[in-house]
Amino acid sequence: MAVDLIELARPRRRTVTDPQVDPVTAEVVRGAMETVCFEMATYVSRTATTPILNQSNERNATVLDAQGRLAALSVGIPQFMLTSTLPVRFALEFLGVAEFREGDVFVANDPYHGGGHLPDYNVFAPVFADDPLTGVRRMVLIASIQCHHGDTGGAVPGGYNVTANDVWGEGVRWPVIKVIDQGVERRDVLYALQVNNRLPDYIGDLRAQIGAAQLGSRRLGQIVERHGIGVVEESVDFMIDYAAERFREEVAAWPDGTYEADCWVDHDPLGHQDVHLHVAITVDGDRLRIDFTGTDARQDLQAWSTFGNTRGYTVAQIAAMMDPEIPKNEGFFEAIDLIVPQGCVLNPHANRPVSAGTHHPGAEVGEVIALALQHVLAHKAVPQVYKTGIPTVISGIDPRTGQTFTDHSAEVYAGWCNAAEGMDAWGAQAAAFGNLWKATAEINESLYPHIQWSRDYRIDSGGPGQWRGLCGSHYVKEVRVDARVYTYVVGMKYPMPGIAGGRPGEPNQLTIRYGSDDPFVVAHTADWVPIGAGQKLCYDYGGGGGWGDPLDRQAQAVLDDVLDEYVSTEGARRDYGVVLTGSLDDLTLAIDPAATEALRAERRTGR
């Protein structure tokens, strides 16, 4: 029952050996396919019921060719852009092409059959057209849409069972099932999906996805009809070649060599300490090899990142370090030679639990790659990382309805956003998560019995540097009813690292029953920790790392930061060697140039 995910990810044969299509036509076809992806994603937003889909943008639409190679995409979150290709490939190989019929729609969510984690549902539909060469109607493309759902069955609501022993404990697995058979809905199958999920809206959301895949299939059919099968297939191969070529050109400009780095996740949800990631990145001409040999392979760990997930985070980080205009398609991924030994936390043996591991060590894949490449690409080394652990789930009985509520704390807060060369970090999260659209107090306080007292930036929490990391939020929430908290916290021992001489951001810390005489500071996991009506939880989210030596930061910029209370007067002196006179309260702050110069000189020589 073990599917070889590495084999699944291997390059697929090209459809056209030597595409003769002209670049303008290929570009026109690519634009049309990306527009279809946008239309599919928009369809889900318009028709889904739950906020996670219609509001937070956790969805990805893609077009694959008949081999399961990525042709075009509209992406919600870069890290997840790849998880839609492997489930389709599994379906193609398991069922065989003959089982893909016009009007079919498939559903898949299993991490060990190509997916990310169980709550990510992939829905896909083939596109058929008449082949003028053979006179036969055949599959040309596949439209696919992937969305994160709020539940997936299993022991714990929400899809994150961080004490599960295996993937079965995390939720229901659907390697691939046909929900629409040649245009006819399979009610038995849809009903089975429905009863294996806690959320009443789940099936509505899944229907939105099915509708989107059908729309995508229809629209792609129009494009194939307009341009012809030959032109479309040649255009797909042309654009894949083009992306691969542009990728190799970028790599060729990097200095040859092998660059290594290590990073750690504080612990897994069971408290196993210091989950270790090691990478060796070899630049050899225009070849890029990323090798995770040496990464933690303790078999008793709880949180694992499947090969597909690891590959997605790898590609997302590399994409953030390249020209943003290179098309994201199969050519981009195939150009990376990725080595992840079977059995390490980044490529588990089958059926290990993954719900927490998707995020950690998943996210740290990006971190360790940025750390390795900072030695040669310092100006592009901005880890596209989060240190979320899993969402902070609060559950209790809502007295207004008498029903159980499950609050995933999906509110906006700032954290873990690193600076880039030439730019202080800004906003709330790294750029890769910029498509998220998180909830606010005025949305969630009417849905859940809580009060959001604060999410302001924490002073001095941004990593010092020539360019400053973003401050993390001081996030305080009061529950208005008795409730319990379920979560997993990382980033305490290992906060966001600085780059190129920048300093790390402040670490995470979560305190349940904050301010009471019985506070619970989360060490690794909160397993339904009680919190009483009127009590608060406080999540001090970690800051982003700084970029470059903080002693090189312009003193005026430090003064401005103090005026804006991103940095304290003490922080200016301690972290930046900038001495200020006067007071913030009466706006008389000024730089003491002589003292600053002297202090900075002393710090430099003291190293």
């Binding site: 019921t49 205009e325 659209w437 606010t440 107090a441 306080e445 849905l447």
Partner: protein, 698 residues
């Protein structure tokens, strides 16, 4: 002095004045239905100077002095870009914000949104109020309006003093749930006026945008605070000039909803002017389409730098309430949903790494395309149009310009043909295909938001380059019928006068339907009714010309989009009213989204009133010629490339066409400011409604 002997025909005339980047356009419609157009250069430093110059020109055409002319006017409606210019030039007021403690940084966090997900070096938007200018105030109200923490008045006073010390002149107040309970914001205004009586402007978030959520309201309120001082001083100045000139009516200002606002409302909600620029054009297009009997269409305006798209259904432009971003700030105002992409005549074509890209960078109008001969040195869409034969080389742009074909060929060759290793004609055609595909894709994306299939729509094309490219865009979209209104050059000004007055107001009230307090609901609706009356009063419309619609905004728990459900009448018994509301919501959800959850208790999110004040429409939109047999209007022919080699193509002078004149493609029909391209196999006919009807199917 007046020399008319049949009485002054201008008495009661309505004037539309639209300030554009280059020209200020004026339109005057007399009570007997005559239409006069005029234009004068825009005066960027003080737009009102150009406005008054234009009015003087119009007065002269009636043989009147400015005073007599102005004294006799019925209404003056004005479209201004002052708010947009303030954001573009980033020279608005110094703004300070008083904000609920703990929520000081919403404006920077932007609900996590960043525009460029692949670019970690993409910079932050310019700050309207830096963090030091955002003062946290202890106070808190919950979602039902209950006070959890009373307003700390000392903190407000101290905050105001600090903001004053920091040089803030325009103050904004943003307290959580102020749209449910505005007491704290109102009290803050009193305290501001006590501490800082000479403050230039105060923006209270619940007045600017009376709904949640807080990021959207913070952003909207800050932008309002930033632009309001300059906008209200401009509007006040123009009102004075008009009054001094003898105008006795109220000056009405076009808002981005397509409605108009009196100066008093502008002073309070200047942000509603933002993005109003393209609105007039859409309203003009809607008027032309209505005249031609078309009600469902997509309006596309292709100018020099941008391609503006707006979906119109049932004759009404789509209004977008969510996701209105302007200048990287969220504007939580209903806006006519005009979306722009960087595709225009000036869009630059270049080859990057073997791939041909067109736009979004633009050569604009200066230096402009190389063929303008104004120093442009890079290939643009207009250069490609010239190379392919679509444009007249002499008499371009109303006879103002001669095009330099050799220059166009040279840049297309150097920038595109050589890098791609193809000849200059293929290169020009490549530019054409890419820009047309970009515009078609952008149009599809706009339609996707409403789930509309373009094949069921007409295309209304205008702007200098719209009629040149309409045929190709339509073909990409798979639609057949295109309308090119002759009145298009006057659309922006015309739109000001044909727009029905629209008021669209909402109040938040969040509760499960089962616990809805009907008295409270109807009290909110009554409040809104009173506001509607205040806003429409200055338009002088008779009550019977105003249609009001009352809605309850509803959604299923957790849904992001509200649905407007017609409010049941008050005379039903309470439980019947609730049941009626639930039924209407489920039915509507079923009809619009294809499903409903009849066993769920829907959430009420607020009330909404829209009021539509219908204005009298002009009798004619454009003057037609007298030639019914198009052959008589042929002025020559030239070779044109429609994608399959050059074909000799007859050229017609469209300005001489009478209604009913028709041509078959290939043909070019030249108008003073554009060319209508009729490809082989298509046909074109000028309708009595003064628009060209182009059918690709022939």
């Amino acid at each position: 002095m007046s020399t008319t002997d049949i009485g002054p025909p201008h008495l009661g005339s309505r004037i539309g004045v639209d300030v554009g980047g280059t020209f200020t356009d004026l339109i005057c419609i007399t009570p007997d239905g005559q239409v006069l157009l005029d234009k004068t250069p825009t005066t960027p430093d003080d737009q009102s100077i150009g406005v008054m110059t234009g009015l003087a020109q119009l007065a002269e055409r009636f043989g009147l002095d400015l005073g007599t002319f102005c004294a006799g006017l019925g209404t003056v409606v004005h479209g201004t870009t002052t708010a947009d210019n303030t954001m573009i030039e980033q020279d608005g007021a110094a703004v300070g914000l008083l904000v609920t403690e703990g929520h000081r940084d919403e404006i920077e966090m932007r609900r996590v949104h960043k525009e460029q997900i692949w670019d970690p070096s993409y910079p932050a938007p310019f700050p309207i109020a830096r963090r030091r200018n955002r003062i946290a105030i202890p106070e808190r109200v919950d979602f039902e309006g209950e006070v959890l923490v009373p307003l700390d008045e000392d903190a407000v006073r101290a905050g105001v003093r600090r903001l004053r010390q920091l040089g803030a002149e325009s103050l904004a107040v943003m307290f959580l749930f102020s749209f449910v309970n505005p007491d704290h914001e109102r009290r803050a205004r009193e305290l501001i006026l006590e501490e800082y009586p000479e403050v230039t402007h105060i923006s209270l978030s619940h007045e600017v945008m009376p709904r949640g959520p807080e990021f959207e309201r913070t952003s909207t309120t800050l932008v309002n605070a930033y632009v309001a001082p300059r906008v209200s001083s401009y509007v006040g100045g123009l009102s004075r000039r008009l009054r001094d000139a003898g105008y006795e009516g109220e000056l009405l200002i076009m808002a981005s909803t397509g409605g108009v606002m009196p100066p008093a409302t502008v002073a309070r909600r200047a942000v509603a002017l933002l993005g109003s620029g393209p609105t007039g054009g859409v309203m003009g297009a809607a008027a032309a389409a209505r005249r031609a009997g078309r009600s469902d269409f997509v309006a596309v305006d292709m100018g020099g730098t941008s391609f503006d798209i707006c979906l119109v259904r049932n004759g009404e432009p789509e209004i977008s309430i969510d996701w209105n971003w302007r200048y990287r700030y969220y504007i939580g105002m209903p806006m006519v949903d005009v979306q722009a992409v960087g595709a225009g005549g000036g869009s630059i074509a270049r080859v990057r790494q073997g791939s041909l890209l067109v736009g979004p960078e633009s050569a604009g109008s200066s230096p402009g395309p190389a063929c303008y001969g104004r120093g442009g040195t890079v290939a643009t869409v207009t250069d490609a149009d010239a190379v392919l034969g679509f444009l007249p080389l002499t008499g371009f742009a109303g006879g103002l310009m001669t095009l330099d074909l050799a220059a166009a060929r040279a840049v297309v060759n150097a920038d595109v043909a050589e890098p791609l290793g193809i000849d200059v004609i293929d290169a020009a055609w490549g530019i054409e295909r890419i820009v047309n595909a970009n515009m078609a894709n952008a149009t599809r994306r706009v339609l996707a938001g409403s789930g509309v299939d373009p094949r069921h729509l007409d295309l209304i094309a205008y702007g200098g380059n719209g009629p040149v490219h309409a045929w190709a865009i339509a073909a990409e979209l798979g639609l057949d019928r295109i309308l090119v209104p002759k009145a298009a050059p006057a659309f922006s000004a015309l739109g000001l006068l044909v727009s029905d007055y629209k008021v669209d107001l909402t109040r938040s009230y969040v509760t499960p339907l089962s616990r809805l307090d009907l008295d409270h609901l109807h009290a909110l609706l009554a409040d809104l009714e009173a506001e509607v009356t205040d806003e429409l009063d200055p338009t002088g419309l008779p009550a019977e010309a105003v249609v009001r619609s009352r809605y309850v905004q509803m959604a299923y728990a957790g849904q992001n989009f509200d649905m407007s459900v017609p409010a049941p009448s008050r005379d039903l018994p309470a439980d019947a009213e609730l049941m009626e509301l639930a039924e209407r919501f489920h039915d509507r959800h079923e009809a619009d989204r294809g499903f409903s959850f009849r066993d769920q208790d829907p959430t009420v999110r607020g009330v909404r009133i829209t009021a539509l004040g219908r204005v009298a429409k002009p009798l004619t939109l454009a003057q037609l010629g007298t030639v019914t047999d198009a052959g008589e209007a042929q002025t020559g022919s030239r070779p044109v490339h429609f994608g399959d080699g050059f074909v000799d193509t007859p050229v017609f002078d469209g300005s001489t066409f009478a209604s009913g004149a028709h041509v078959r493609g290939p043909a070019l029909v030249e108008e003073p400011f554009t060319v209508v391209v009729v490809p082989p196999g298509a046909s074109l006919r000028l309708g009595e409604h003064t628009s060209y009807e182009l059918s690709l199917d022939g």
